[in-house]
Protein backbone atom coordinates (compact mmCIF):
# COMPACT_ATOMS: atom_id res chain seq x y z
CA UNK A 1 0.00 0.00 0.00
CA UNK A 2 1.34 3.39 -0.94
CA UNK A 3 1.81 6.26 1.43
CA UNK A 4 -0.95 8.80 0.97
CA UNK A 5 -2.83 11.57 2.77
CA UNK A 6 -6.57 12.06 3.19
CA UNK A 7 -6.87 14.76 0.52
CA UNK A 8 -5.24 12.33 -1.89
CA UNK A 9 -7.71 9.51 -1.25
CA UNK A 10 -10.54 12.04 -1.64
CA UNK A 11 -9.05 13.15 -4.98
CA UNK A 12 -8.61 9.63 -6.32
CA UNK A 13 -12.10 8.61 -5.15
CA UNK A 14 -13.72 11.57 -6.89
CA UNK A 15 -11.54 11.03 -9.97
CA UNK A 16 -12.60 7.38 -10.18
CA UNK A 17 -16.22 8.53 -10.48
CA UNK A 18 -15.50 10.49 -13.67
CA UNK A 19 -15.71 8.69 -16.98
CA UNK A 20 -14.06 9.63 -20.22
CA UNK A 21 -16.33 12.09 -21.99
CA UNK A 22 -18.13 13.31 -18.87
CA UNK A 23 -18.79 17.05 -18.78
CA UNK A 24 -17.81 18.42 -15.37
CA UNK A 25 -17.92 21.87 -13.71
CA UNK A 26 -16.22 23.06 -10.55
CA UNK A 27 -17.13 26.04 -8.39
CA UNK A 28 -15.28 28.32 -6.01
CA UNK A 29 -12.82 27.13 -3.34
CA UNK A 30 -12.87 23.62 -4.79
CA UNK A 31 -9.27 22.45 -4.74
CA UNK A 32 -9.96 18.74 -4.26
CA UNK A 33 -12.48 18.49 -7.12
CA UNK A 34 -10.16 20.48 -9.39
CA UNK A 35 -7.25 18.16 -8.58
CA UNK A 36 -9.54 15.15 -9.14
CA UNK A 37 -10.58 16.48 -12.54
CA UNK A 38 -6.94 17.12 -13.50
CA UNK A 39 -5.97 13.65 -12.30
CA UNK A 40 -8.76 11.93 -14.24
CA UNK A 41 -7.74 13.80 -17.39
CA UNK A 42 -4.15 12.66 -16.99
CA UNK A 43 -5.10 9.06 -16.34
CA UNK A 44 -8.29 7.28 -17.37
CA UNK A 45 -10.41 10.13 -18.76
CA UNK A 46 -8.36 12.22 -21.22
CA UNK A 47 -11.59 13.21 -22.97
CA UNK A 48 -13.27 14.52 -19.82
CA UNK A 49 -14.73 17.92 -20.70
CA UNK A 50 -13.89 20.39 -17.96
CA UNK A 51 -15.63 23.71 -17.62
CA UNK A 52 -13.38 25.37 -15.07
CA UNK A 53 -15.17 27.73 -12.71
CA UNK A 54 -18.20 27.30 -15.00
CA UNK A 55 -16.33 29.67 -17.31
CA UNK A 56 -13.20 28.35 -19.06
CA UNK A 57 -13.56 25.35 -21.38
CA UNK A 58 -10.89 22.64 -21.33
CA UNK A 59 -8.18 24.73 -19.69
CA UNK A 60 -4.60 23.65 -19.08
CA UNK A 61 -3.56 25.13 -15.76
CA UNK A 62 -0.01 24.23 -14.93
CA UNK A 63 -1.03 23.20 -11.42
CA UNK A 64 -3.90 23.71 -8.98
CA UNK A 65 -3.84 27.50 -8.55
CA UNK A 66 -4.44 29.54 -5.39
CA UNK A 67 -8.05 30.15 -6.42
CA UNK A 68 -10.49 27.91 -8.29
CA UNK A 69 -12.44 30.94 -9.47
CA UNK A 70 -9.72 33.13 -10.96
CA UNK A 71 -8.05 33.32 -14.35
CA UNK A 72 -4.99 31.12 -13.62
CA UNK A 73 -7.43 28.18 -13.40
CA UNK A 74 -8.78 28.73 -16.91
CA UNK A 75 -5.42 29.28 -18.52
CA UNK A 76 -5.22 28.08 -22.14
CA UNK A 77 -8.99 27.48 -22.38
CA UNK A 78 -10.39 26.77 -25.83
CA UNK A 79 -13.36 29.02 -25.05
CA UNK A 80 -14.59 31.43 -22.43
CA UNK A 81 -18.28 30.90 -21.77
CA UNK A 82 -20.01 34.17 -20.96
CA UNK A 83 -22.05 33.43 -17.87
CA UNK A 84 -25.41 34.90 -18.82
CA UNK A 85 -25.74 33.99 -22.46
CA UNK A 86 -23.48 30.94 -22.80
CA UNK A 87 -23.01 29.03 -19.58
CA UNK A 88 -26.53 29.00 -18.23
CA UNK A 89 -28.01 28.22 -21.63
CA UNK A 90 -25.94 25.04 -21.88
CA UNK A 91 -26.37 24.20 -18.22
CA UNK A 92 -30.16 24.62 -18.22
CA UNK A 93 -30.50 22.40 -21.22
CA UNK A 94 -30.46 18.79 -20.06
CA UNK A 95 -28.06 17.66 -22.78
CA UNK A 96 -24.84 19.16 -21.44
CA UNK A 97 -22.70 19.75 -18.39
CA UNK A 98 -24.14 16.87 -16.40
CA UNK A 99 -21.83 16.79 -13.38
CA UNK A 100 -21.25 19.44 -10.74
CA UNK A 101 -18.79 19.10 -7.92
CA UNK A 102 -20.07 21.08 -4.97
CA UNK A 103 -19.55 21.66 -1.29
CA UNK A 104 -22.27 22.43 1.24
CA UNK A 105 -22.19 23.79 4.78
CA UNK A 106 -24.97 21.34 5.68
CA UNK A 107 -26.05 18.24 3.83
CA UNK A 108 -28.97 16.13 5.03
CA UNK A 109 -29.91 12.47 4.89
CA UNK A 110 -31.67 12.98 1.56
CA UNK A 111 -28.89 15.02 -0.02
CA UNK A 112 -30.57 18.41 0.35
CA UNK A 113 -27.98 21.15 0.80
CA UNK A 114 -27.78 24.35 2.81
CA UNK A 115 -25.38 27.16 2.00
CA UNK A 116 -27.72 29.95 3.11
CA UNK A 117 -28.25 30.24 6.87
CA UNK A 118 -27.65 28.41 10.13
CA UNK A 119 -30.49 28.89 12.60
CA UNK A 120 -34.25 28.65 12.52
CA UNK A 121 -35.08 32.25 11.56
CA UNK A 122 -34.02 32.82 7.95
CA UNK A 123 -34.22 36.61 8.27
CA UNK A 124 -32.28 36.78 11.54
CA UNK A 125 -29.92 33.82 11.20
CA UNK A 126 -27.38 32.68 13.72
CA UNK A 127 -24.89 32.48 10.85
CA UNK A 128 -25.32 34.00 7.44
CA UNK A 129 -23.60 31.69 4.95
CA UNK A 130 -22.53 32.77 1.42
CA UNK A 131 -25.79 31.90 -0.34
CA UNK A 132 -27.03 29.31 -2.77
CA UNK A 133 -25.20 30.67 -5.85
CA UNK A 134 -25.52 28.15 -8.70
CA UNK A 135 -26.25 25.18 -6.44
CA UNK A 136 -29.89 26.22 -6.01
CA UNK A 137 -30.21 25.79 -9.76
CA UNK A 138 -28.14 22.63 -10.17
CA UNK A 139 -30.16 20.77 -7.55
CA UNK A 140 -33.37 21.33 -9.50
CA UNK A 141 -31.97 21.02 -13.02
CA UNK A 142 -31.31 17.30 -12.98
CA UNK A 143 -27.55 17.50 -12.59
CA UNK A 144 -25.52 14.72 -11.05
CA UNK A 145 -24.18 16.33 -7.89
CA UNK A 146 -20.85 15.14 -6.49
CA UNK A 147 -20.55 16.48 -2.94
CA UNK A 148 -17.32 16.57 -1.05
CA UNK A 149 -16.57 17.51 2.53
CA UNK A 150 -13.14 17.55 4.19
CA UNK A 151 -14.62 17.67 7.70
CA UNK A 152 -17.22 14.93 8.18
CA UNK A 153 -19.03 15.86 11.41
CA UNK A 154 -22.58 15.85 12.81
CA UNK A 155 -23.05 19.59 12.22
CA UNK A 156 -22.26 19.20 8.50
CA UNK A 157 -24.11 15.93 7.85
CA UNK A 158 -27.44 16.58 9.51
CA UNK A 159 -30.80 14.86 9.66
CA UNK A 160 -32.54 17.92 8.25
CA UNK A 161 -30.92 21.07 6.88
CA UNK A 162 -31.81 24.34 8.63
CA UNK A 163 -32.73 25.76 5.24
CA UNK A 164 -32.98 23.99 1.93
CA UNK A 165 -30.96 26.10 -0.50
CA UNK A 166 -30.64 23.27 -2.99
CA UNK A 167 -32.89 20.34 -3.75
CA UNK A 168 -31.54 16.86 -3.18
CA UNK A 169 -34.07 14.06 -2.84
CA UNK A 170 -36.34 16.38 -0.79
CA UNK A 171 -38.20 14.13 1.68
CA UNK A 172 -36.99 11.00 -0.07
CA UNK A 173 -38.72 8.26 -2.03
CA UNK A 174 -40.14 9.45 -5.32
CA UNK A 175 -40.73 13.07 -4.28
CA UNK A 176 -38.10 14.34 -6.68
CA UNK A 177 -39.61 12.44 -9.55
CA UNK A 178 -43.09 13.70 -8.75
CA UNK A 179 -41.84 17.27 -9.07
CA UNK A 180 -40.39 16.42 -12.46
CA UNK A 181 -36.77 16.84 -11.36
CA UNK A 182 -34.17 14.63 -13.05
CA UNK A 183 -31.07 13.03 -11.52
CA UNK A 184 -29.79 14.46 -8.26
CA UNK A 185 -27.06 13.92 -5.68
CA UNK A 186 -24.99 10.88 -6.57
CA UNK A 187 -22.07 10.62 -4.22
CA UNK A 188 -20.64 12.23 -1.10
CA UNK A 189 -16.89 11.94 -0.61
CA UNK A 190 -15.64 12.92 2.84
CA UNK A 191 -12.43 12.66 4.81
CA UNK A 192 -13.79 9.47 6.40
CA UNK A 193 -15.90 7.66 3.86
CA UNK A 194 -17.76 7.45 0.58
CA UNK A 195 -21.55 7.63 0.62
CA UNK A 196 -24.34 7.42 -1.90
CA UNK A 197 -28.15 7.32 -1.87
CA UNK A 198 -30.39 4.27 -1.68
CA UNK A 199 -32.12 3.79 -5.04
CA UNK A 200 -35.60 3.64 -3.52
CA UNK A 201 -35.71 5.42 -0.18
CA UNK A 202 -33.06 7.95 -1.37
CA UNK A 203 -31.53 7.94 2.08
CA UNK A 204 -27.80 8.41 2.41
CA UNK A 205 -25.96 5.11 2.49
CA UNK A 206 -22.44 4.17 3.38
CA UNK A 207 -20.50 2.78 0.43
CA UNK A 208 -16.98 2.45 1.84
CA UNK A 209 -14.83 3.63 4.70
CA UNK A 210 -11.30 4.90 4.17
CA UNK A 211 -8.56 2.60 5.51
CA UNK A 212 -8.17 3.01 9.26
CA UNK A 213 -11.71 4.34 9.72
CA UNK A 214 -14.45 2.19 11.25
CA UNK A 215 -18.15 2.15 10.40
CA UNK A 216 -18.84 3.24 13.99
CA UNK A 217 -16.60 6.28 13.59
CA UNK A 218 -18.44 7.32 10.44
CA UNK A 219 -21.82 6.79 12.12
CA UNK A 220 -20.69 8.81 15.12
CA UNK A 221 -19.58 11.67 12.87
CA UNK A 222 -22.95 11.70 11.11
CA UNK A 223 -26.02 13.47 12.50
CA UNK A 224 -28.48 10.76 11.41
CA UNK A 225 -28.60 7.01 11.02
CA UNK A 226 -26.76 5.92 7.90
CA UNK A 227 -28.03 3.06 5.81
CA UNK A 228 -25.49 0.29 5.43
CA UNK A 229 -24.87 -1.63 2.23
CA UNK A 230 -25.95 -5.25 1.90
CA UNK A 231 -23.05 -7.35 3.15
CA UNK A 232 -19.77 -5.95 4.40
CA UNK A 233 -18.84 -2.31 4.17
CA UNK A 234 -16.00 -2.04 1.66
CA UNK A 235 -12.74 -0.23 2.17
CA UNK A 236 -12.16 2.74 -0.12
CA UNK A 237 -9.56 1.99 -2.79
CA UNK A 238 -6.30 3.67 -1.88
CA UNK A 239 -4.35 5.92 -4.27
CA UNK A 240 -1.69 4.18 -6.34
CA UNK A 241 1.91 5.29 -6.22
CA UNK A 242 1.52 6.84 -9.64
CA UNK A 243 -1.54 8.80 -8.51
CA UNK A 244 0.22 10.05 -5.40
CA UNK A 245 3.20 11.09 -7.51
CA UNK A 246 0.99 12.94 -10.01
CA UNK A 247 -0.95 14.70 -7.26
CA UNK A 248 2.10 15.75 -5.25
CA UNK A 249 4.60 16.57 -7.91
CA UNK A 250 2.57 17.67 -10.88
CA UNK A 251 -1.05 18.57 -10.09
CA UNK A 252 -0.84 20.14 -6.65
CA UNK A 253 2.79 20.83 -5.74
CA UNK A 254 1.68 23.82 -3.65
CA UNK A 255 -0.37 21.53 -1.39
CA UNK A 256 -3.64 23.47 -1.74
CA UNK A 257 -5.71 20.29 -1.41
CA UNK A 258 -3.83 19.50 1.77
CA UNK A 259 -4.60 22.95 3.10
CA UNK A 260 -8.28 22.43 2.17
CA UNK A 261 -8.32 19.11 4.01
CA UNK A 262 -6.35 20.49 6.95
CA UNK A 263 -3.53 17.96 6.69
CA UNK A 264 0.15 18.65 7.17
CA UNK A 265 2.30 18.27 4.10
CA UNK A 266 4.42 15.12 4.18
Amino acid sequence: MSDYTVDEIMCTTLASRFQDGDEVCNGMASFIPVAAIMLARLMHAPGLVWLAGAAGLDPRPERVPASTLEAPLWRDSVMYLEQYSDFWHYAQNGRNLGIFCVGAAQLDMYGNANNSVIGSDYHRPKVRLPGTAGLGDMGSLGKRLFYWNTNHNPRALVEKVDFRSAAGYLDGGDERERLGLGPGPEVVVTNLAVLDFHPESKRMRLVSVHPGVTVEQVQEATGFELLLPDGDVAETATPTEEQVHLLRDRIDPDGLCKREAGVARP
Partner: protein, 291 residues
Protein backbone atom coordinates in the same frame (compact mmCIF):
# COMPACT_ATOMS: atom_id res chain seq x y z
CA UNK B 1 -21.77 63.67 -26.64
CA UNK B 2 -18.99 63.10 -24.15
CA UNK B 3 -19.90 60.96 -21.17
CA UNK B 4 -16.59 61.52 -19.46
CA UNK B 5 -16.83 62.90 -15.95
CA UNK B 6 -15.13 62.91 -12.57
CA UNK B 7 -15.76 60.00 -10.23
CA UNK B 8 -17.48 62.42 -7.81
CA UNK B 9 -19.95 63.56 -10.47
CA UNK B 10 -20.53 60.02 -11.70
CA UNK B 11 -21.35 58.66 -8.25
CA UNK B 12 -23.52 61.71 -7.54
CA UNK B 13 -25.92 60.13 -10.07
CA UNK B 14 -26.64 57.46 -7.46
CA UNK B 15 -29.42 58.53 -5.10
CA UNK B 16 -30.09 57.30 -1.57
CA UNK B 17 -32.46 54.33 -1.67
CA UNK B 18 -31.45 53.30 -5.21
CA UNK B 19 -31.02 49.70 -6.29
CA UNK B 20 -27.44 49.43 -7.52
CA UNK B 21 -26.19 46.49 -9.60
CA UNK B 22 -22.52 45.97 -8.93
CA UNK B 23 -20.10 43.97 -11.08
CA UNK B 24 -18.23 41.43 -8.95
CA UNK B 25 -17.44 37.72 -8.88
CA UNK B 26 -15.93 36.90 -5.48
CA UNK B 27 -12.36 38.24 -5.84
CA UNK B 28 -12.82 39.31 -9.45
CA UNK B 29 -13.57 42.50 -11.30
CA UNK B 30 -15.41 44.81 -8.90
CA UNK B 31 -15.46 48.54 -9.73
CA UNK B 32 -13.82 49.28 -6.39
CA UNK B 33 -13.12 52.96 -7.08
CA UNK B 34 -16.88 53.47 -7.43
CA UNK B 35 -17.48 51.44 -4.28
CA UNK B 36 -15.09 53.67 -2.35
CA UNK B 37 -16.78 56.78 -3.72
CA UNK B 38 -20.22 55.49 -2.65
CA UNK B 39 -18.81 55.23 0.87
CA UNK B 40 -17.10 58.64 0.71
CA UNK B 41 -20.34 60.30 -0.41
CA UNK B 42 -22.12 58.53 2.47
CA UNK B 43 -24.87 57.05 0.37
CA UNK B 44 -27.60 55.40 2.43
CA UNK B 45 -30.25 52.69 2.08
CA UNK B 46 -28.94 51.30 -1.18
CA UNK B 47 -30.10 47.91 -2.39
CA UNK B 48 -27.16 46.02 -3.84
CA UNK B 49 -27.43 43.53 -6.68
CA UNK B 50 -24.52 41.14 -7.26
CA UNK B 51 -24.12 37.72 -8.74
CA UNK B 52 -21.41 36.83 -6.21
CA UNK B 53 -20.26 39.78 -4.15
CA UNK B 54 -16.91 39.97 -2.39
CA UNK B 55 -14.95 42.58 -0.45
CA UNK B 56 -17.08 45.34 -2.02
CA UNK B 57 -20.19 44.04 -0.25
CA UNK B 58 -18.28 43.74 3.01
CA UNK B 59 -17.16 47.37 2.81
CA UNK B 60 -20.58 48.70 1.81
CA UNK B 61 -22.16 46.81 4.71
CA UNK B 62 -19.47 48.02 7.14
CA UNK B 63 -19.98 51.63 6.03
CA UNK B 64 -23.76 51.43 6.42
CA UNK B 65 -24.36 52.19 2.73
CA UNK B 66 -26.60 49.21 1.95
CA UNK B 67 -29.69 47.89 3.70
CA UNK B 68 -30.52 45.05 1.31
CA UNK B 69 -28.67 42.54 -0.81
CA UNK B 70 -30.22 40.93 -3.88
CA UNK B 71 -28.12 38.16 -5.33
CA UNK B 72 -26.79 34.62 -5.38
CA UNK B 73 -23.90 34.70 -2.90
CA UNK B 74 -21.42 36.82 -0.96
CA UNK B 75 -17.96 35.35 -0.45
CA UNK B 76 -14.31 36.24 -0.83
CA UNK B 77 -13.64 32.66 -1.93
CA UNK B 78 -10.37 31.48 -0.39
CA UNK B 79 -10.38 34.54 1.90
CA UNK B 80 -13.58 33.34 3.50
CA UNK B 81 -16.92 34.81 4.48
CA UNK B 82 -17.49 38.57 4.37
CA UNK B 83 -17.68 39.14 8.13
CA UNK B 84 -19.04 42.70 8.18
CA UNK B 85 -21.79 41.75 5.73
CA UNK B 86 -22.50 38.60 7.69
CA UNK B 87 -22.84 40.53 10.93
CA UNK B 88 -25.08 43.15 9.32
CA UNK B 89 -27.42 40.40 8.11
CA UNK B 90 -27.40 38.55 11.42
CA UNK B 91 -28.22 41.79 13.26
CA UNK B 92 -31.00 42.64 10.83
CA UNK B 93 -29.33 45.72 9.34
CA UNK B 94 -29.15 44.18 5.86
CA UNK B 95 -32.03 42.22 4.38
CA UNK B 96 -31.11 39.42 1.98
CA UNK B 97 -33.17 38.62 -1.06
CA UNK B 98 -31.52 35.36 -2.01
CA UNK B 99 -31.67 34.19 -5.60
CA UNK B 100 -30.03 31.40 -7.52
CA UNK B 101 -27.97 32.43 -10.51
CA UNK B 102 -30.65 31.57 -13.07
CA UNK B 103 -33.28 33.36 -10.98
CA UNK B 104 -31.15 36.51 -10.80
CA UNK B 105 -30.46 36.29 -14.52
CA UNK B 106 -34.16 35.80 -15.20
CA UNK B 107 -35.15 38.78 -13.04
CA UNK B 108 -32.64 41.00 -14.82
CA UNK B 109 -33.43 39.49 -18.22
CA UNK B 110 -37.09 40.36 -17.72
CA UNK B 111 -36.12 43.86 -16.64
CA UNK B 112 -33.97 44.32 -19.73
CA UNK B 113 -36.71 43.12 -22.09
CA UNK B 114 -39.51 45.11 -20.45
CA UNK B 115 -41.32 41.90 -19.45
CA UNK B 116 -43.06 41.42 -16.08
CA UNK B 117 -41.18 38.17 -15.44
CA UNK B 118 -39.21 35.31 -16.95
CA UNK B 119 -39.27 31.68 -15.82
CA UNK B 120 -36.61 29.30 -14.56
CA UNK B 121 -36.53 25.62 -13.67
CA UNK B 122 -34.00 26.35 -10.94
CA UNK B 123 -34.94 26.41 -7.23
CA UNK B 124 -37.93 24.05 -7.50
CA UNK B 125 -38.07 22.09 -4.24
CA UNK B 126 -36.01 24.63 -2.26
CA UNK B 127 -36.97 26.84 0.69
CA UNK B 128 -35.85 29.93 -1.22
CA UNK B 129 -39.22 29.99 -2.97
CA UNK B 130 -40.88 30.39 0.43
CA UNK B 131 -38.82 33.40 1.54
CA UNK B 132 -38.57 35.36 -1.71
CA UNK B 133 -41.74 37.19 -2.73
CA UNK B 134 -40.31 37.94 -6.16
CA UNK B 135 -40.37 34.25 -7.09
CA UNK B 136 -43.64 32.41 -7.68
CA UNK B 137 -44.36 28.97 -9.06
CA UNK B 138 -46.87 28.74 -11.89
CA UNK B 139 -48.12 26.19 -14.35
CA UNK B 140 -46.80 26.59 -17.86
CA UNK B 141 -49.83 27.13 -20.17
CA UNK B 142 -48.39 24.87 -22.89
CA UNK B 143 -47.01 21.87 -21.03
CA UNK B 144 -48.57 22.12 -17.59
CA UNK B 145 -45.11 21.91 -16.00
CA UNK B 146 -44.46 23.77 -12.79
CA UNK B 147 -41.92 26.56 -13.28
CA UNK B 148 -40.70 29.53 -11.25
CA UNK B 149 -41.66 33.01 -12.42
CA UNK B 150 -38.97 35.55 -11.55
CA UNK B 151 -40.27 39.10 -11.28
CA UNK B 152 -38.53 41.73 -13.43
CA UNK B 153 -35.75 43.63 -11.70
CA UNK B 154 -34.76 47.04 -13.02
CA UNK B 155 -31.82 48.39 -11.03
CA UNK B 156 -31.57 52.16 -10.86
CA UNK B 157 -27.87 52.09 -11.66
CA UNK B 158 -25.38 49.49 -12.92
CA UNK B 159 -21.73 49.93 -11.92
CA UNK B 160 -19.12 48.21 -14.05
CA UNK B 161 -15.40 48.31 -14.66
CA UNK B 162 -13.94 47.70 -18.13
CA UNK B 163 -10.63 47.81 -19.95
CA UNK B 164 -11.35 50.77 -22.18
CA UNK B 165 -14.02 53.09 -23.50
CA UNK B 166 -14.20 56.07 -25.80
CA UNK B 167 -15.61 59.41 -24.70
CA UNK B 168 -19.06 58.46 -26.00
CA UNK B 169 -19.16 55.53 -23.58
CA UNK B 170 -18.66 52.64 -26.00
CA UNK B 171 -17.08 50.03 -23.77
CA UNK B 172 -14.56 47.37 -24.70
CA UNK B 173 -13.09 44.39 -22.91
CA UNK B 174 -9.86 42.61 -23.62
CA UNK B 175 -10.31 38.84 -24.02
CA UNK B 176 -11.41 37.60 -20.61
CA UNK B 177 -14.26 35.80 -18.86
CA UNK B 178 -17.41 37.91 -18.84
CA UNK B 179 -19.93 37.57 -16.02
CA UNK B 180 -23.57 38.74 -16.22
CA UNK B 181 -22.48 42.03 -14.71
CA UNK B 182 -21.63 43.02 -18.24
CA UNK B 183 -23.92 40.61 -20.08
CA UNK B 184 -27.15 41.74 -18.47
CA UNK B 185 -26.77 44.32 -15.66
CA UNK B 186 -26.41 47.39 -17.92
CA UNK B 187 -29.16 46.12 -20.20
CA UNK B 188 -31.57 45.94 -17.27
CA UNK B 189 -30.53 49.09 -15.39
CA UNK B 190 -31.89 52.62 -15.91
CA UNK B 191 -28.41 54.09 -15.81
CA UNK B 192 -24.89 52.73 -16.20
CA UNK B 193 -21.69 54.13 -14.77
CA UNK B 194 -18.47 52.69 -16.16
CA UNK B 195 -14.94 53.04 -14.87
CA UNK B 196 -12.21 52.02 -17.30
CA UNK B 197 -8.52 51.34 -17.20
CA UNK B 198 -8.16 53.85 -20.02
CA UNK B 199 -10.21 56.22 -22.15
CA UNK B 200 -9.20 55.87 -25.77
CA UNK B 201 -9.98 57.41 -29.13
CA UNK B 202 -12.89 55.70 -30.92
CA UNK B 203 -10.41 54.69 -33.61
CA UNK B 204 -8.95 52.20 -31.14
CA UNK B 205 -12.36 50.56 -30.64
CA UNK B 206 -12.98 50.42 -34.39
CA UNK B 207 -10.02 48.08 -34.80
CA UNK B 208 -11.83 45.39 -32.76
CA UNK B 209 -15.57 46.11 -32.75
CA UNK B 210 -16.21 42.49 -31.74
CA UNK B 211 -14.73 43.33 -28.37
CA UNK B 212 -17.13 46.20 -27.74
CA UNK B 213 -19.69 44.83 -25.29
CA UNK B 214 -21.64 47.95 -24.30
CA UNK B 215 -22.93 50.58 -26.70
CA UNK B 216 -22.45 54.20 -25.68
CA UNK B 217 -26.19 54.81 -25.90
CA UNK B 218 -26.62 52.66 -22.79
CA UNK B 219 -23.84 54.33 -20.82
CA UNK B 220 -24.31 57.50 -18.77
CA UNK B 221 -20.89 58.12 -17.31
CA UNK B 222 -17.32 57.12 -18.10
CA UNK B 223 -14.50 57.63 -15.62
CA UNK B 224 -10.88 56.75 -16.24
CA UNK B 225 -9.51 54.84 -13.22
CA UNK B 226 -6.42 52.71 -13.88
CA UNK B 227 -6.31 49.83 -11.40
CA UNK B 228 -9.92 50.72 -10.69
CA UNK B 229 -10.75 47.14 -9.66
CA UNK B 230 -7.96 46.84 -7.06
CA UNK B 231 -7.87 44.83 -4.77
CA UNK B 232 -9.98 42.52 -6.94
CA UNK B 233 -8.51 41.07 -10.11
CA UNK B 234 -8.99 42.44 -13.57
CA UNK B 235 -7.60 40.04 -16.13
CA UNK B 236 -5.62 40.11 -18.24
CA UNK B 237 -4.29 43.35 -16.70
CA UNK B 238 -3.80 42.36 -13.06
CA UNK B 239 -4.58 39.68 -10.50
CA UNK B 240 -6.27 40.06 -7.12
CA UNK B 241 -4.26 41.52 -4.26
CA UNK B 242 -4.04 38.60 -1.86
CA UNK B 243 -2.14 40.53 0.80
CA UNK B 244 -4.74 43.31 0.83
CA UNK B 245 -7.58 40.79 1.14
CA UNK B 246 -5.75 39.07 4.00
CA UNK B 247 -5.16 42.41 5.74
CA UNK B 248 -8.90 43.05 5.54
CA UNK B 249 -9.84 39.62 6.89
CA UNK B 250 -7.51 40.21 9.85
CA UNK B 251 -9.55 43.21 10.98
CA UNK B 252 -13.01 42.59 9.54
CA UNK B 253 -14.40 40.69 12.53
CA UNK B 254 -13.84 43.72 14.75
CA UNK B 255 -16.08 46.75 14.09
CA UNK B 256 -13.61 49.31 15.33
CA UNK B 257 -10.69 47.91 13.39
CA UNK B 258 -12.85 47.54 10.31
CA UNK B 259 -13.81 51.23 10.52
CA UNK B 260 -10.16 52.15 10.96
CA UNK B 261 -9.34 50.14 7.82
CA UNK B 262 -12.04 52.02 5.89
CA UNK B 263 -10.74 55.34 7.21
CA UNK B 264 -7.25 54.52 6.09
CA UNK B 265 -8.04 53.13 2.64
CA UNK B 266 -11.38 54.69 1.71
CA UNK B 267 -12.18 57.94 3.54
CA UNK B 268 -8.72 59.43 3.97
CA UNK B 269 -7.07 59.08 0.53
CA UNK B 270 -8.17 62.13 -1.45
CA UNK B 271 -7.46 60.76 -4.88
CA UNK B 272 -7.27 57.37 -6.50
CA UNK B 273 -3.49 57.75 -6.63
CA UNK B 274 -3.49 58.42 -2.88
CA UNK B 275 -5.48 55.21 -2.39
CA UNK B 276 -3.05 53.16 -4.46
CA UNK B 277 -0.18 54.69 -2.49
CA UNK B 278 -1.85 53.78 0.81
CA UNK B 279 -2.47 50.26 -0.47
CA UNK B 280 1.22 49.66 -1.07
CA UNK B 281 2.09 51.89 -4.01
CA UNK B 282 4.18 50.93 -7.00
CA UNK B 283 5.66 47.87 -5.34
CA UNK B 284 2.23 46.33 -4.73
CA UNK B 285 0.99 47.23 -8.20
CA UNK B 286 4.00 45.50 -9.75
CA UNK B 287 3.19 42.48 -7.59
CA UNK B 288 -0.44 42.21 -8.74
CA UNK B 289 0.45 42.96 -12.35
CA UNK B 290 3.00 40.13 -12.51
CA UNK B 291 0.64 37.37 -13.53
Amino acid sequence: MSKVMSIEDAVALVEDGNVVALQNMATQAAPMALVRELIRQEKRNLGLVCLVGGIAVDWLAAAGVIDRFIGAAVSMETFGLCQQYRKAVEEGRVHVEELSETALNARLGAGARNLPSLPTRGLIGTDILAVNENLKTFEDPFTGETLVACRALVPDVALVHAHRADEQGNVQYEPTILWPDVGIFPKAARRTIVTVEEIVDSEVLRRNPDRTVLPGFRVDAVVEVPYGAHPTSFYPRYGYDARFHIDWTKVSRDDEQAQEFLRRYVREPETHADYLQAAGGAERLIEVTRL
